[in-house]
Amino acid sequence: MVGSRFRGPIEWLCMLVLIGVPLTLMAQQAEKPDADLVREGPLALAAAHDEKPRRGGKFVGVLNEKIPFYDMHQTSLGGIFAATAPAYNGLVRTSPYDPLATEVIPELAHAWEFSEDRKSITFHLHQGVKWHDGAPFSSADVKYTIERIMDPPKGMVSPRGPVFNAVIDRVEAPDPHTVVVHGKGPTTLLLDLFANGHNAIIPKHIVEKDPVSALKTQIIGTGPYRIKGSPTESLWQYERNPDYFIKGLPYTDELDIHIIDDAQAMLAALLSKRIHWSGAFLHPNLDGDLAKSAAQQNADLIHGPMPGLIVSHLALQSEKPPFDDVRVRQAVSEAIKREAVSALGNQTGAIGTGNYALGRWKMPKEMQEQLIGYGSDMKKRIANAKKLLASYEEEKGKIDWRKIKLQCSSNIKFSCENAQVVQQLLKKIDVNVDLDPMLVAQHRANEVSGDFLMSLLGAAFDFDDPNDTFGQLFVTNGGRWYQRRSIPEVDALFEKQKFTADPEKRKELVWEMDKIVMNDAAYLVLLWFDLHHVRWNFVKGWTPTPNIRSTNARMDYVWLDLPELPHAQ
């Protein structure tokens, strides 16, 4: 009898309203960009992503490399970034729930706007923000930070200075809560630069006393966590910053970061719950097999493979024979079946060109297949490679491949494994090279100084943008210009795309550059490889991103789904 009451049209209408209205509201909430949601508070952001965070507890993390000093502006070492990131903030950051780490949300700046010509950007800063020592934060700190990166004091090396100087003209602080950054041309990079976790804002009042060394030994930020005591070589301990300007964050009370350099020892510690995950900055030797086998040992462990903004490369030193001739370089590229590197090596990944293989700048497949080294017909490629080598040898004499060594890093697992695969693939064109394994410190130094002929290692990037990838790899004198091949046409295209505001036009320019450098074959992209992450299932609020230096290392949105902890209000 009760059921019959719902058969009338009015009742059906009521039901529709009762169910439909909340669903519509939820849908609207879900459609809101994360930048708007976070302005309503971290819980609104969490709810939109189906999370109901708990508050409290201690999160125990891990890092895999020694932390030599604490000033992240003087290095590109990922370990220093990941260890210090919880103490700092940037002007903006990427959404903690965005798996591609491209959606920019507020941090120290609650709002921003580009000028009409997109040549400058104005950041409006939160008020009442304090440094961990109690001093007030202001726009002067932001101005000082940017200027220190662009024009470092004598005795300091600023690895990201060239990128800043290429894009930024000057910075102004018209009032304590406003910062205006003027670019050298119209570019969205003015915002993206500040969403890179490495470009955190530092305290002027501390650093100006000793601009080179002040931050090497102390950690004073505005971030969600304050350092507890002095970090040791084994352990960094953080506690919640009670004055944090984003109310409700961080979710955990304490954060411990252990330093464990051995991948097996780290997994043993993870399995015994001494640590809660395999790290924000992923271990280079934690490959797919190792991560999978660890996760299989306990049903409560989650293994999350994630395509990364890291390439495994084969650099050919183009200043030295025989690689100073494009025919030899192209022959090597044609012989290397990229899919084989992924299938036979221990590190899986995606096949791509100079742009991130799964990102917004990737080249269409049909265009990619036209490039040297990317055609689908391997027989044709091998024949072409042999023809190219024969043409070179007819003109310049036989190449003595026994004298050519392929350098790889013996303490970076994928490096020598992929080198072995390349070594085998090159045999198909009758090229026999020996491997030259060495420690990564020596190997990287050789790449920087050009002391090699063939080198197989990797390079990680901060964001999926040609300004970063091409600016580092292919532009003359770029940060990782290991192959030393200067192509004026690419340099010109790079400058042109940098200040092209129309995304479609920019894409065309980017693909044009990409085609040139791939066909020039001095820097061979073997694969954009997967990162592997293992964590206990009670660790929530963490999204692995392709960018290993993403602002998620801040750890403020991470929470522990343990029943003894109350839900955050």
Binding site: F69, S76, P159, H258, R274, Q442, V448, S449, G478
Partner: protein, 316 residues
């Protein structure tokens, strides 16, 4: 006589130390690689590396760098780490030393207790199945790679009990029980490797001593076999064990790289490896120099100990 001997040994030691300082200085510079690249990370390029090298004084000629290091040491300044935030090397060594000392002491306890026991049993029951079993057990320790044994112990503990030792070193003065829990398995891993040396040395010494006339005399006096072995035989077996033991102990103090890595202990081994990998010249030079000094002092102490243990030994 003793004083003259010590002075002569100390003079010889200073010559050795000068040789060691030159050797390590040039070896470190012969290893390809660059501390500037280690500091800057993968974003290093030619220009930034050159700037940093100049700032660190690595552009100076070798004799200037060597002279600066030696002069600083004579002034009592052992140098500062290039890689680790310019920290004084002595401070770094002091920070890491307790872990190494702790592990070395426990390891030697395991090695000596097991090694002497196995050696004595082997000697007393020589050429019986007991002897064979003891010898197989001790030689197995020598044959198993230390890193493999350490990893197997670690993974077995995880598999069976979901347990691994604590990740941060606990001082025995803070909690002896937690310290013992943490260091037990690393000490067993390392100690088992050392057992074979001590057991074999003990066995052969026991066999030699047991046929000596004073042992026959002791037995003829009607002493019980236990007294004969403990009081008369073992006393004379101790000397070679002290020699081997002290050398092993010094070697352990030099750092046990693999075991420290597997069990995540940050001792001198970890510090030295980090220094070598990152081309931290002042750190490695000073550490190797200190080890050399330590070995010289340990040898001297061993020789003096000989005299105390066996008054027949005289110094010429």
């Amino acid at each position: 006589m003793m004083k003259q001997y010590i002075v002569r040994r100390l003079l010889l030691a200073s010559v050795t130390l000068i040789g060691v300082s030159l050797l390590i200085f040039f070896i470190m510079r012969a290893i390809p690689g660059d501390v500037a690249v280690s500091i800057l990370g993968e974003g290093a390029n030619e220009q930034t590396v050159a700037e940093l090298r100049e700032h660190l004084g690595l552009d100076d000629p070798w004799y200037v760098q060597y002279g600066r290091w030696v002069k600083n040491m004579v002034d009592g300044d052992m140098g500062r780490s290039l890689f680790l935030a310019n920290k004084p090397v002595t401070e770094l060594m002091a920070e890491h030393f307790p872990v190494t000392l702790n592990l070395s002491v426990y390891t030697m306890v395991v090695a000596v207790v097991l090694g002497v026991a196995l050696g004595v049993i082997s000697g007393l029951f020589h050429d019986t199945w007991i002897d064979y079993a003891c010898r197989v057990f001790s030689v197995t320790g020598l044959s198993i790679p230390v890193f493999w044994l350490g990893l197997m112990i670690l993974l077995t503990m995880v598999r069976l009990f979901a347990w691994t030792p604590e990740l941060v070193w606990v001082s025995p003065f803070d909690s002896f029980w937690r310290n013992l829990q943490q260091m037990f398995w690393p000490a067993v891993t390392l100690g088992y490797f050392q057992v074979a040396f001590i057991a074999r040395m003990t066995r052969s010494s026991i066999l030699e001593v047991l046929v000596e006339e004073y042992i026959r005399t002791a037995r003829a006096k009607g002493l019980r076999e236990r007294m004969v072995v403990m009081k008369h035989a073992l006393r004379n077996v101790v000397i070679p064990i002290v020699t081997i033991g002290s050398l092993q102990f010094v070697a352990l103090l030099g750092g046990v790289v693999v075991t420290e890595r597997v069990f995540n202990l940050k001792g001198w081994g970890a510090l030295l490896v980090s220094g070598v990998v990152n081309h931290d010249y002042p750190l490695v030079q000073t550490m190797i120099f200190s080890f050399a000094g330590l070995v010289i002092v340990a040898n001297l102490c061993t020789d003096i100990l000989y005299g105390w243990l066996d008054p027949r030994i005289r110094y010429h």
